[in-house]
Every structure is written in structure tokens, then in C-alpha cells.
């Protein structure tokens, strides 16, 4: 029997009937074997209510062929429990934890079956933020450091608990959920698609363009609409501008944490130029309102094309100077090199994605492996580093800013304002009884949205995955055996999203 329905990131939405319903144990055995090959990783895995029970859906990505494998299963209502895949492949842990939290599904021999985000519709209401079961180690020499939920700076909340032996971190556990707003529930509450687009923009405000693109591509697949080449190109410019801006912010933040003020202020200034360019394009510094389903309210004009080119050329030149200096700054290198190692094998095991995975030698980049939109028409070479440390995570940023700036300059040279960009469409009829997904490489990594529609083409289930869901565990692993004072630079080198995780 066929275990998977095979599709790719450019194909239209999948009719639910075409997705095989398999025996869980068969799938379990297949995945136990299959996932040892690092070309595969899980992109999404969730359950949805059906008549008399739950139907589970899973999306597995094949990085080599660009295929997306979709499967589903309906366990017996009276089944005692499901054999945990996390026990074999830790990359399944957030998904199994989520389903355990929401539906009480017991995953047998799951090593870490703790609450994921304390969502409002969790099954066990007696489990609260305050009763999070932190891991404990007993010992006279050890002490615990509790940080959060409110942190020292102006950032989002999350609770961090370190177990230290002197200055050395033995274990870090990160408890999240403080930012839970009920994104997925709000997404299906109303059919107002402008509202849904704005919710997508607010999933993680620093990835507004990334998540909005994921939402729009998903809707376009469901509507069976292919958008014009110009619109695809302009969306790509928007997402690359976002990448530049956030990588600049993180370069600056890393410099701040080691007291390197020159780099910090230079990056702040460069980021201001970049996001003000986005603001001059669409009126919002974070690119909110720029990405809309099937069209755009802000097609590029002659003057805007010129402005973006001029500013990005300038940012690129100034950042190059900074980059050269950073790569020679021995005091900076002394802090960043060989600190916060996440070896490639670990990154594979936890299913790391995006820029952090690439810094650990994993060639995982949706723009390369599963391109959609304008990326499908060009050749993108992911920037991969093999050092696996804080410096490697900075170095991927240093190179990706230059790469993205090159893309923006190249795409805009010779680009004239286009007439075939339509106004947004919030009304199109969507395919009924279908599953639609989208994969987008945001600046943090792989964003995956999945929607299910009912017979009338109404979205009845919406699932969001921010790359942070995979990568938070990477941060916890990075700081193991490091000095606790190196936590901030490790944290900044990942810069993961709290709200994107908590939803």
C-alpha cells in the first residue's frame, strides 16, 4: 500500500481523498528507517477533529528531490497509545508534545512529554505555566538560575532555567507559552481574508513578510490562481529586504552583547536605512500591508525601484566594510569562535532549519530545496558553514546580507514598473475538501502553513509553523557546558521567535 501522497511546493492544493490513510505502525516503521537519511525532515505533523475521533496529517520534506510527502492516519479511538517517533528521532518532539497537550494522546516512551505552549484549549486545564515540570538535577555543587518570563531588555517573555556547576551550564530548559494568543483559532473564526492576512502578518512581527507570503501562497494554491511573474519578483524583493534588515539587527545585537559599540551603532543605522526603505515602499517599516493574496496594493513605481536600488547598494557597501572588520576583530573572534557548538549530527537529530542549521553544515534552505514563487525561476546557492559555533551563525548572516543585497540589486536592474499586478483579491472561491500547504524560507528558516477546507471551500483548520519551533532546542543544546555568561551571545546568534512558537 502507498504510504505517501507525493507532491511539491509549487503544485496546487491536494484533494483530501488523495491523501492515503495508513496504519500507524506501518508509518512508524517506515519513518524510523527513512528519517535516518538526513535528506528527509518533518515539516508539519498535527491532528484535526473528525467525526468520532482524530485524523493525523504529516508532511515530510525530501531535500534532494524537492518532493513533499503527505500522509495521514486515523488511530483507533480505543487505542492505548501511539509509539513515539520522538524516541527514535528527536525532531518529532514539538509536534508530539503539541498533540499530547491538545488532545491528551499518550505517546509511548516519548522521552520528554511536557507541555509545549499551554494553549488555551489544552486538554489538562490544571497544567499551568506555574506548574511547568522543569528538569531537576540534585547535587551539593549545583545551583539553578531562573530567568524570566520577563527579561531584562525589551523582548518577549519566556522562562529559562539553567542548572549550573559553578559558571558552567549543565542544562538549560526553555519553557514557552507566555505569548500564546490563539493565532490558529482566530485564523478560522472568520472568513474575512483581509483579517486572515493581517493575522498571518502578526504571527511574528519581525517575519511579517515571510508569514504573509506563506499565507498568500497557500490561498493561491487553494484558489488555483497563478500570480504574475512581476508579483512573484516583488514578493521576493520584499522578503529579501526583510532578511537583510533582520540579519543587520542580529549582527548589531551580537556586537552589543560583547560591548562592541561601533558595530552596534553601525548596524542600527544600516537597519534604519533598510526598514525605512520598506516603509517608503509600503508605509510600514516591517513590510506589513505589502503582501496580499493574488495581488498587491503597492506595486513598485519608477521612483521606488530607484530608491530601493540606491539604498540597498549603499547598505551593501557599508556592511561590506563592517564585515571585513568583524572578520579581523580578534577580541570578537575570541568570544564567538568555538562557543555554543551545535554539531551537525545534533542539528540533524533535532530537525534544525534555516540559518542556524546552515551554520552547522546542514544545507537546508527552502529557496534551494523546495523553491516557490520567483525562487523557482532562479538558482539559489545556500550559504553553509561547517564551524557550528556562534561565529558560524554570525558568518552566515554576514554572507546572507551580501547575497540578499545582490539579489535585490540584480532583480531590480532593468526592472520596469509592471502593469500586470492586480489588486488584492479577498473573495476567490477556494477548492473544497482539500489540504493546502506552503513552504517559505523566512530569515529564520522554514515557515510552513497548512490549511484544510470543508466541502464549501471554507478553511476549517489552519496550522502554522515558525522555524523557531524546531530551533529552540538547538539553543538549549548550544549553551550546554558553556559559561553562563555566554548565554546572551548564544541567544542572539539564534534570535528565535517567542510569539512564532507560542502562536
Amino acid at each position: 500500500m502507498k504510504l505517501y501522497y507525493t507532491t511539491n511546493n509549487r503544485a496546487s492544493a491536494v484533494v483530501l481523498q488523495d491523501i492515503p490513510v495508513v496504519e500507524y505502525m506501518e508509518l512508524y516503521h517506515d519513518l524510523s528507517e527513512r528519517m535516518h537519511d538526513t535528506r528527509y525532515h518533518v515539516a508539519h505533523y498535527f491532528a484535526t477533529e473528525i467525526e468520532n475521533g482524530l485524523r493525523f496529517f504529516m508532511l515530510v520534506l525530501d531535500d534532494e528531490t524537492g518532493e513533499v510527502l503527505i500522509t495521514s492516519f486515523i488511530p483507533d479511538y480505543y487505542a492505548e497509545g501511539l509509539a513515539s517517533l520522538t524516541a527514535v528521532h528527536p525532531q518529532f518532539h514539538p509536534f508530539e508534545r503539541e498533540m499530547h497537550e491538545l488532545y491528551g494522546i499518550p505517546f509511548d516512551s516519548h522521552p520528554w512529554l511536557k507541555p509545549l505552549r499551554f494553549s488555551h484549549d489544552r486538554r489538562d486545564r490544571s497544567s499551568t505555566m506555574d506548574s511547568y515540570p522543569f528538569y531537576e538535577i540534585e547535587g551539593k555543587e549545583l545551583h539553578e538560575v531562573n530567568v524570566g518570563p520577563i527579561h531584562a531588555g525589551i523582548i518577549e517573555p519566556g522562562a529559562f532555567r539553567f542548572i549550573c556547576d559553578g559558571e558552567q551550564v549543565l542544562h538549560l530548559e526553555i519553557a514557552l507559552g507566555y505569548q500564546h494568543r490563539g493565532v490558529e483559532g482566530e485564523m478560522v473564526k472568520s472568513d474575512n481574508r483581509l483579517r486572515q492576512t493581517l493575522i498571518a502578518e502578526s504571527i511574528a512581527g519581525d517575519t511579517a513578510v515571510g508569514h504573509a507570503t506563506a499565507y498568500c501562497e497557500l490561498i493561491e494554491k487553494l484558489a488555483g490562481v497563478e500570480v504574475s511573474k512581476s508579483l512573484r519578483l516583488e514578493r521576493m524583493i520584499a522578503i529579501e529586504l526583510e532578511r537583510i534588515a533582520m540579519h543587520l539587527a542580529d549582527t548589531g545585537a551580537l556586537a552589543t552583547d560583547i560591548g562592541f559599540q561601533l558595530y552596534q551603532v553601525a548596524c542600527e543605522a544600516l537597519r534604519t536605512v533598510t526598514i525605512n526603505t520598506t516603509q517608503a515602499w509600503c508605509g510600514n517599516r516591517f513590510g506589513k500591508s505589502l503582501i496580499r493574496p493574488m495581488g498587491s496594493n503597492h506595486p513598485l513605481t519608477e521612483a521606488k525601484i530607484e530608491l530601493i536600488r540606491k539604498n540597498i547598494t549603499d547598505v551593501r557597501r557599508r556592511y561590506c566594510e563592517l564585515r571585513e572588520d568583524i572578520l579581523e576583530a580578534h577580541t570578537l573572534l575570541a568570544r564567538f569562535e568555538q562557543c555554543g557548538l551545535v554539531p551537525k549530527s545534533e542539528m540533524e537529530r533535532i530537525g534544525g532549519v534555516g540559518q542556524a542549521a546552515r551554520a552547522s553544515g546542514l544545507k537546508r534552505d527552502i529557496r534551494h530545496t523546495h523553491p516557490s514563487g520567483y525562487y523557482a525561476e532562479m538558482e539559489h546557492t545556500p550559504i553553509v558553514k561547517s564551524e557550528c559555533d556562534v561565529m558560524a551563525r554570525l558568518a552566515t548572516r554576514l554572507d546572507e546580507v551580501i547575497q540578499s543585497a545582490d539579489y535585490v540589486e540584480r532583480l531590480l536592474s532593468g526592472y520596469a514598473p509592471s502593469k500586470d499586478i492586480a489588486a488584492p483579491n479577498y473573495e476567490a472561491q477556494l477548492k473544497g475538501e482539500a489540504l493546502s500547504f506552503s513552504l517559505v524560507e523566512g530569515w529564520r528558516g522554514e515557515i510552513c502553513h497548512v490549511a484544510l477546507t470543508n466541502g464549501d471551500g471554507r478553511i476549517v483548520k489552519y496550522k502554522v509553523k515558525d522555524p523557531s519551533l524546531h530551533n529552540w532546542l538547538g539553543l538549549a543544546i548550544a549553551v550546554r557546558s558553556e559559561g553562563i555568561s555566554d548565554f546572551p551571545i548564544n541567544n542572539k546568534s539564534f534570535n528565535l521567535s517567542y510569539c512564532g512558537h507560542d502562536l
Binding site: 518570563p149 525589551i154 482566530e186 483579517r195 493581517l198 542600527e268 508605509g283 496594493n297
Partner: protein
């Protein structure tokens, strides 16, 4: 090494904005909306129906900036009724002043309700504690930006501090997630009197897209007095700077 740093310094030059009050934002920026009534109501009714946060009422025509996410879609539906200007000074001292009516030409900033001790205690220096309770990180980044090399709000003695014990007030962002409600309350109560409460961003002011979400608990705002409301999605750094500056000014009797 040193040569490289000198090059970076020269390339960047002076970055700070000398007069923060003189800045005019790009034409594209959507700030204060100007509303006009028309006899024909079809357009504005369509806009009101489309508005994702229900910020628009049609009879009489009003737009609540505390709910508005400044997406600009209503202006496209009803260009004769709504026009967003690039006015970024949107601060208000009373919640109801955020509701813009037809004919209003500028945001209302009622100085009569500002407590006199604010200028007395915080006119020279003001340290704030920010708490994000379900904020989407964009408002938080804009608040960080107020202290950056361009805006440099620190030059007027305003900054953000880590401990609520060192703070003179709290800046709230986000629609207040249930899971953060208690921590927010504890933090606010850890700040010594006299203190101010600033609510920053439309999602914090009204709950925004999450106003009716079961994962949100907004009782905090019913309990405490708010001194300053700053709309926006996210609030522009200059809107924050302008609002705080006017709040701290000595009022003439």
C-alpha cells in the same frame, strides 16, 4: 584594524536626528486618518465590513485608532471617506480621544487630564519597564529603536530599565495573553509610586485582532489608570517619542 574602524566611522558619519520634532515621515506612511461624510454610504459600509478589527462605524462616521491596524484597505474601498495622512503624532491621554470623527483635522491630546506630578517627578528623567504580553515583536523592536543611534531618545533622559524597582512606569505591548496576565500584574505592582502606565500599539489598546480570543485576558486594563495611549501596528518610534515628550511637559495653568 584601526584603519578599518576609521573607515566605518567615516562611512556612517553623523547618524542622529538633530530635531526629532521636525521630522516628516514618507508620504506612504499611514498615520492620522481624515474622515469625510458622504451622502452615498455604499463604499464606507463595504470598508466597515472588511475592516478586520471593526474599527469603523458608518453612522456617524468614526474610525477608532485604538483598533485600527493601519493596513489602509478602507482607504482603497472608500477613498472619498477616509484618507490616511502621514501625521505620526497619534498619542492620546484619553482612550475616547483615539476615536476620530468626520471633520477632525488633528489628533486630540488633552493635557487637562495629565497628572501634575508626572512633569514634577519625571520631567528630568524617566526610566521605563517594558512588558510584552502577547506582542508580536514589532512594537518591541520599535521601542528598542527609540534608543538607537538615529532616534537617541536617551538624550532627553528617557530610557528603558531592567528592574521594575528602578522604573518610573510601565510600557505595555501586546493584547495581554492569559499566560502573561499574572506576570504583568506582578511587574506593575513592583514599580514604586508615583508611576505611569503607557499602552503602546493598537493590539495593546484594544486587543486588535485578538480582542475576542479566548487566549487573551484584558482585565489588567480595567484595574489601572492609563496615562498614555499610543496607537499603531507597530507604533512608530517617533510616535512614542512625541507622546512621552508631551506627557512630561510642564502644563501652564
Amino acid at each position: 584594524m584601526l584603519f578599518g574602524k576609521a573607515k566605518i566611522l567615516r562611512s556612517h558619519g553623523w547618524q542622529y536626528i538633530p530635531d526629532l520634532d521636525a521630522v516628516t515621515l514618507t508620504e506612504e506612511f499611514r498615520g492620522f486618518p481624515i474622515l469625510s461624510e458622504t451622502k452615498e454610504k455604499d463604499d464606507i459600509e463595504r470598508a466597515a465590513k472588511l475592516c478586520p478589527t471593526g474599527a469603523i462605524t458608518t453612522a456617524p462616521l468614526t474610525l477608532d485608532m485604538g483598533k485600527c491596524l493601519f493596513c489602509g484597505e478602507c482607504q482603497r474601498c472608500a477613498p472619498r471617506n477616509i484618507r490616511f495622512t502621514n501625521e505620526h503624532r497619534l498619542a492620546a491621554t484619553r482612550r475616547e480621544d483615539l476615536v476620530v470623527k468626520a471633520g477632525d483635522t488633528a489628533p486630540k491630546f488633552d493635557t487637562s487630564v495629565i497628572r501634575p506630578e508626572i512633569a514634577r517627578y519625571f520631567g528630568q528623567a524617566l526610566q521605563l519597564r517594558e512588558v510584552s504580553a502577547g506582542g508580536d515583536c514589532s512594537v518591541e523592536m520599535e521601542l528598542n529603536a527609540t534608543g538607537n543611534v538615529n532616534f537617541d531618545f536617551g538624550r532627553y533622559g528617557v530610557g528603558f530599565t531592567a528592574s521594575p524597582r528602578h522604573a518610573d512606569g510601565l510600557v505595555l505591548t501586546g493584547p495581554i495573553s492569559q499566560n502573561m496576565a499574572e506576570a504583568l500584574d506582578i511587574c506593575y505592582n513592583s514599580i514604586a509610586e508615583p508611576k505611569i502606565l503607557v499602552v503602546c500599539g493598537s493590539e495593546a489598546i484594544s486587543g486588535g485582532l485578538y480582542a475576542n480570543s479566548p487566549a487573551v485576558d484584558r482585565s489588567f486594563l480595567d484595574k489601572y489608570h492609563v496615562d498614555l495611549w499610543l496607537p499603531g501596528a507597530p507604533t512608530h518610534p517617533l510616535c512614542f517619542i512625541d507622546g512621552i515628550t508631551r506627557l512630561r511637559k510642564k502644563q501652564r495653568k
